[in-house]
């Protein structure tokens, strides 16, 4: 039996509808990236500060490339999804160290609570996103976020020469932030920063599913002494740090 492309694709559509209409009655399993994000997962990141090299900016560079993030050349207006913060710990007389800071994909995100248009939202798997189609650029979320994770796009941007078509460029006047590279996560890959950090040999960052007790990140968060930034705020951040 031969089928043309339309028939095959149409069957795919029918299967997807079947999944939506009758959960439990699944005729053909859809590939992982075609099913909706499920609350079976809880994506999180773990950064080992002791392995983070103060001179290294591999994660930031990888993030800019992966997500087509432009540089405007004005530090006050530049977009940053991930940045490195230098810490001087005078009390414990430690040498200064750096840590990457990005959106913590908080369990109770104040940015989502204040958003008047529901542009900021939490996906079922815990990833906090901005639906830029809806964002009106009011910047309430930027004020609400205690981690300075969000940036407003101040200037119009053009697609970069060798841009990544998987990620849109941005419209002027919307707010954006780290997405945990959601397009990669949906395809079963780790975020670009994590991948680069592993490849660069420092291997300070890792990414995984906290709802899976067998995953490496679950094991490490359980057995090692890990911390989050400002846990006292009660937002339950999901970027965990080791050796802070």
């Amino acid at each position: 039996m031969t089928m043309d492309r339309r028939t095959v694709l149409g069957m795919g559509g029918a299967a997807a509808v079947g999944v939506l209409l009758a959960p439990g009655v699944q005729l053909i399993a859809a590939p992982p990236n075609e099913t909706a994000a499920a609350n079976a997962h809880r994506w999180a990141m773990l950064v080992d500060i002791t392995k983070c090299n103060p001179a290294c900016t591999a994660c930031i560079d990888a993030c800019r490339k992966e997500n087509n993030i432009p540089l405007f050349g004005d530090p006050a207006r530049d977009i940053h999804w991930i940045r490195k913060v230098e810490v001087q710990d005078k009390e414990r007389q430690r040498p200064p160290f750096t840590l990457p800071v990005l959106c913590n994909h908080c369990e109770y995100p104040p940015c989502v609570h204040v958003c008047p248009t529901s542009a900021s939202f939490v996906r079922k798997d815990g990833i906090v996103l901005v639906d830029e189609h809806r964002c009106i650029g009011c910047r309430y979320c930027m004020i609400a976020c205690p981690y300075k994770a969000r940036s407003l796009v101040y200037f119009p941007t053009k697609p970069p020469k060798d841009g990544n078509p998987q990620v849109p460029i941005r419209a002027k006047g919307v707010v954006e932030k780290c997405t945990f590279c959601v397009h990669r996560v949906d395809d079963g890959q780790p975020p670009a920063c994590v991948e680069t950090c592993q490849q660069s040999g420092h291997a300070a960052m890792m990414f995984g599913d906290l709802n899976d007790p067998q995953s490496e990140i679950s094991q490490r968060v359980k057995t090692l002494r890990t911390e989050t930034i400002r846990p006292d705020l009660g937002l339950k951040p999901h970027v965990h740090y080791q050796g802070l």
Partner: protein
Amino acid sequence: MVLLRMVMIVLAVLMAGTARANDNATSDNAANSLLLANGDVRLQKPKGDACIRPTEWMRRNHMDFLQHKRAVTVREGARKRSESLLQCKSCHPSREQFCDRCHDYVGVEPNCFECHIYPE
């Protein structure tokens, strides 16, 4: 009064007639004009053998379809690559000669491509 109205009607009909004649003239003269002889918008011939939905359906519903896909992709995380906007180009390589032709003709300005990259 009746006379005035009749004059107006005759004028209107005449004007419509000239406009039509002009339309025909341009489409006949310029080979790369926007319109075909039968009044259809001239679109780049698609490469593949079939669209992901019947062509007639797509003509009427592609906007609602894309909007729906946008919602389920962004908010639900159901990323069906075979139906992504990026896949359109496997059959319609040029946005200018496919999407934009119709949009220019009917005067709608969808803002998809302010952000989304239509791959080369």
